[in-house]
């Protein structure tokens, strides 16, 4: 029992992180980030590759996407070309990934430190989020949620395909973040589970500080609350969108890194893990962080218990339970279509 609860909470913590990423991206850009799963996979693979001393091919992917993003950027700013814009674009889309590649090469060769590998993995995957936003979503920022959603499916398929090309069909696993383990009464706590809790907690506190106390964090929140209002005070929605995607990619990558020592990750595993975070985000109404966190833990628990008692119907149970929750939420907040004076 206790073991199941622990398992559920560990997974729930990861789902909560993923849920946050989804809520953030949706609130700021109205994109339902189905490719979140790929960031998980990429994070896991990058970390696993670095741990085994090989150069992760995500570094090349980041460079390639950066170059494409650079071209897209050039086309879109061709009427307002200035040295400043050009330099900024080159820095962001070409030089940065190149430097990251270099760092990745050095890290793969020399680094055996877990924190360093973790940091480099993030450094590689986070810009991929930025570039995806620049290439795919920024040009269609005004499209309907439905069209953006379908585009997300396209991105998901393309990135998953790239995952297969780059990493092959074999699974990967990385050494745990720490080897320590101890027992509390009948419960055995592994260092890995502990790392999950600590990192999840740190990240949540970090996000809370970022959104509550920094100007950019507030600007991001403002964009989510009222896009028109944000633009009217000079907050670029494009900038907000880029920030949201970078954060979401980083969150996805961290989740992947936390999972890969516990389960073998294949090129398409991210999707299913992401889906669970997605459920949490849905239950939270794609808007509320605390509700998302609670829902994530609940999803983790339901999953852990149902896989024990009715393993065959684990997914059926998890997914069916959402529907009544959604219904309750719909009834609690009826859609109002106001005719104002």
């Amino acid at each position: 029992m206790l073991f199941l609860a622990q398992d559920g909470i560990t997974n729930g913590a990861i789902y909560a992180l993923l849920g946050f990423g989804l809520v953030l991206v949706f609130a700021v850009t109205r994109v339902i980030l189905i490719p979140q799963g790929e960031f998980i996979t990429f994070g896991a693979f990058t970390y696993a590759a670095l741990s085994s001393g090989t150069l992760p091919r995500t570094a090349q992917l980041a460079c390639a996407l950066g170059v494409i993003a650079f071209c897209v950027e050039l086309v879109s700013i061709r009427h307002q070309l200035s040295i400043r814009r050009l330099v900024r674009a080159a820095l962001l889309f070409v030089i940065m990934p190149a430097v990251i590649w270099l760092v990745a090469m050095i890290a793969a060769k020399y680094s055996r430190s877990v924190p360093a590998n973790l940091a480099v993995s993030l450094l590689i995957v986070a810009p991929i989020g930025l570039y995806i936003y620049r290439i795919v979503y920024q040009p269609m920022a005004h499209a309907s949620v439905l069209v953006l959603l379908i585009a997300s499916v396209g991105v998901h398929l393309a990135l998953q395909g790239m995952g297969l090309v780059f990493f092959g069909a074999e699974g990967m696993r990385a050494p745990p973040i720490t080897e320590v383990a101890f027992s509390i009464g009948p419960l055995r706590v592994t260092g890995q589970a502990l790392a999950v809790y600590v990192i999840a907690a740190l990240l949540i506190v970090g996000l809370w500080l970022f959104f509550g106390y920094t100007l950019y964090g507030k600007a991001l929140r403002a964009t989510a609350v009222n896009r028109v209002g944000a633009r009217l005070v000079g907050v670029r929605t494009v900038l907000s969108g880029q920030m949201a995607f970078v954060l979401a990619a980083a969150i996805g990558a961290i989740s992947g890194i936390l999972i890969v020592p516990m389960t073998t990750i294949y090129y398409d595993s991210g999707f299913l893990v992401g889906l669970k975070g997605f459920i949490a985000a849905i239950v939270g109404g794609l808007g509320s962080y605390p509700l998302t966190a609670m829902a994530a833990v609940a999803v983790g628990l339901v999953e852990a218990f149902s896989s024990f008692y009715a393993s065959n119907f684990k997914e059926v149970i998890v997914f069916t339970l959402i529907v009544p929750v959604l219904l309750l939420r719909s009834l609690a907040v009826p859609e109002v279509e106001e005719e104002k004076d």
């Binding site: 396209g154 069916t320 859609e335 279509e337």
Partner: protein, 585 residues
């Protein structure tokens, strides 16, 4: 939808294709697949593109259709033709159950809910023992007529495409009807449709079932085409793909579903057979092209292609038809028609309407004036049942109407226009106005599909045309409502309200955006309506217009009535001048 020959031509082309000499059988397989996907997507066009309900779960309904026939034919040895009604029934019934929950989901919860049950059903298919778990069911018999079994791709082809054509025609018929107009109005919010008696939840459920039955039909065909079923084609990926097909084709167009299926199925095939092998790049290219397509043509391909269509749509005047029965109108100005007593409305802590009382007599024109935000539109919403009063009494002919639904109130003879125009922009003026007569028609969805509704339909359209002529927009009858100037759109709303055959007409800023002579014409029309026995309650800012037209004026300020009287009294009322001037001098 009156053009029959393009459909006939299309049918002929479809019929001839298998006879093309030396056509590779593989092409026929592709065409079969296109037809199967088109059926599901057609339902999605109606559900998502027209009705505004995004569903990712359609593949599950295919699964219901396919598994129903699979189980019945293999376990019980039933003939496939007998299982067809069973398949449709199972999909339809499950659609009712899922739909009852789903259509009550609001906003983004709805598509997300469909993802949830779509996934859940997929896992259910793959775990249930009697459905063969992940292996599914094999050995499903082919369709057969007499001793002729439709085993090849070329033989079932006719069943599939016959089904596509019939479904398309039925769907088009449905859209071009009383029920269809109600469905088409769904995407633009519920308020306007409900104010003319449309039961929006029921209309949503109806399209949901329609889409599910089409998907179930496709599933039934699929089972007898492939002759085996397993969970994979009914999973989330497939559900997404159907939606994708609808969007690529053009989510608001029935033929867009056929076009979209053609594009996507062929395209996937090309990618699969392309030389760079093993299908690894296939999915990448597919994803990339999907994104590109959405960036270039977010409206889908069908509108782009049909723009090249060389022939204008015929704009037939609605044919002559017997008049709809009308309500008895008051023949004298005696008796109170509408009474509002002590009406109050709070939103949280804010009191929008506070203890407002006034009455409208038969054959009377009353104006409600006051600064913006004074509670005029809220008062309208209380009278029409859009909002429920926190306190107070509202009665019509002495019968309380507070707490009744908007549908019930319009049935009793109160029709309205909206301050922010609520027309369906991509429907013609005629179709928009005909929604006003919704409650005066009888035909349901099934009779519309089978074209048994023509007499009823002709009467509704004739009534709509009559009201359009009456408000002076006869020349714009066949234009899309969205292409009219805002002032004209307001007049269209008046025609729509008149179609409901009201005894009380509520007009919210009818003169806004009109030129001087148009305002005069409007005033003449309103007086004429009054003389015919209608009462009119209007909100208006143009004081010149109000003072000349209204017989009595009620002035609201801050949700409270500050004055009431004939125009000459109001003009000299000190409180009114103070409230309207706003700033103390």
């Amino acid at each position: 939808m009156t053009q029959h020959w393009p459909i006939a031509l299309f049918a002929a082309v479809v019929a001839v294709i298998p006879f093309v000499p030396e056509i590779p059988p593989f092409w026929l397989v592709l065409l079969d697949n296109i037809g199967l996907a088109a059926l599901v997507s057609m339902g999605l066009v109606l559900l998502t593109g027209v009705g505004g309900l995004t569903s990712f779960g359609q593949a599950a309904f295919c699964g219901f259709g396919a598994y129903t026939t699979a189980v019945l034919t293999t376990h019980f040895g039933l003939s496939p033709w007998l299982t067809l009604p069973a398949s449709l029934l199972v999909s339809g019934l499950l659609a009712v159950i899922l739909g009852l929950v789903t259509v009550r989901l609001s906003g983004h919860y709805l598509p997300l809910g469909t993802i949830a049950w779509g996934l859940s059903l997929y896992y259910l298919f793959s775990k249930l023992e009697f459905l063969g778990r992940n292996d599914g069911i094999t050995g499903i018999p082919p369709l057969s007529v007499g001793s002729w079994s439709m085993i090849g791709a070329g033989s079932i082809y006719y069943v599939i495409w016959g089904g596509v054509l019939i479904s398309a025609i039925l769907t088009l018929n449905l859209l071009d009807s009383r029920t269809g107009r109600a469905i088409r109005a769904l995407r633009r919010g519920h308020l306007a449709a409900e104010s003319f008696g449309v039961q929006t939840a029921r209309a949503k459920l109806l399209v949901f079932i329609h889409a599910a039955v089409l998907a179930g039909f496709s599933g039934w065909l699929y089972a007898h085409f492939i002759r085996a079923v397993n969970p994979t084609p009914f999973g989330a990926q497939a559900g997404i793909e159907y939606l994708f097909i609808a969007v690529v084709g053009g989510a608001g167009h029935v033929w867009g579903a056929v076009l979209g299926s053609g594009i996507v199925v062929v395209f996937k095939e090309v990618l699969k057979s392309a030389p760079y092998g093993e299908g690894q790049l296939e999915v990448i290219v597919f994803g990339v092209l999907l994104v590109l397509l959405l960036q270039i043509a977010p409206e889908g391909m069908w509108p782009r292609l049909s723009a090249f269509w060389p022939f204008a749509r015929p704009q037939a005047k609605p044919r002559k038809a017997s008049a709809l029965p009308a309500r008895a109108k008051a023949d004298s100005g005696e008796g109170k028609l509408l009474e509002v007593e002590g009406a109050q409305k709070r939103f949280g802590g804010v009191i929008a309407v506070n203890d407002v009382s006034f009455a409208v007599a038969s054959r009377e024109i009353v104006a409600l004036i006051g600064p913006n935000g004074a509670g005029k539109s809220t008062t309208f919403n209380l009278i029409t049942g859009v909002l429920e009063a926190t306190a107070g009494r509202i009665s019509l002919f002495g019968n309380p109407i507070a707490g009744l639904s908007p549908q019930e109130i319009v049935r009793r003879g109160v029709a309205r226009t909206f301050q922010h125009v609520k027309l369906v922009p991509d429907m013609t003026v005629l179709e928009n106005v005909a929604i006003g007569a919704h409650l005066r028609g009888r035909s349901g969805a099934v009779s519309s599909m089978l074209r048994l509704d023509r007499e009823d339909e002709a009467r509704l359209l004739a009534e709509a045309a009559r009201q359009i002529e009456r408000v002076g927009l006869g020349a714009q009858m066949h234009q899309l409502a969205g292409s009219l100037a805002l002032g004209q759109q307001r007049i269209v709303e008046i025609a729509r309200a008149l179609c409901a055959d009201p005894v009380l007409l509520l007009l919210d800023e009818p003169a806004a955006g009109l030129r001087h002579n148009e305002k005069q014409a409007l005033a003449t029309l309103i007086r004429q309506l009054r003389d015919e026995g209608m009462s009119i309650l209007l909100v208006e800012h143009d004081m010149g217009f109000v003072m000349n037209l209204a017989e009595r004026i009620v002035v609201l300020d801050f949700g409270t009535k500050i004055a009431e009287g004939v125009p000459s009294e109001i003009k000299t009322n000190a409180d009114v001048i103070e409230a309207y001037l706003g700033v103390a001098a």
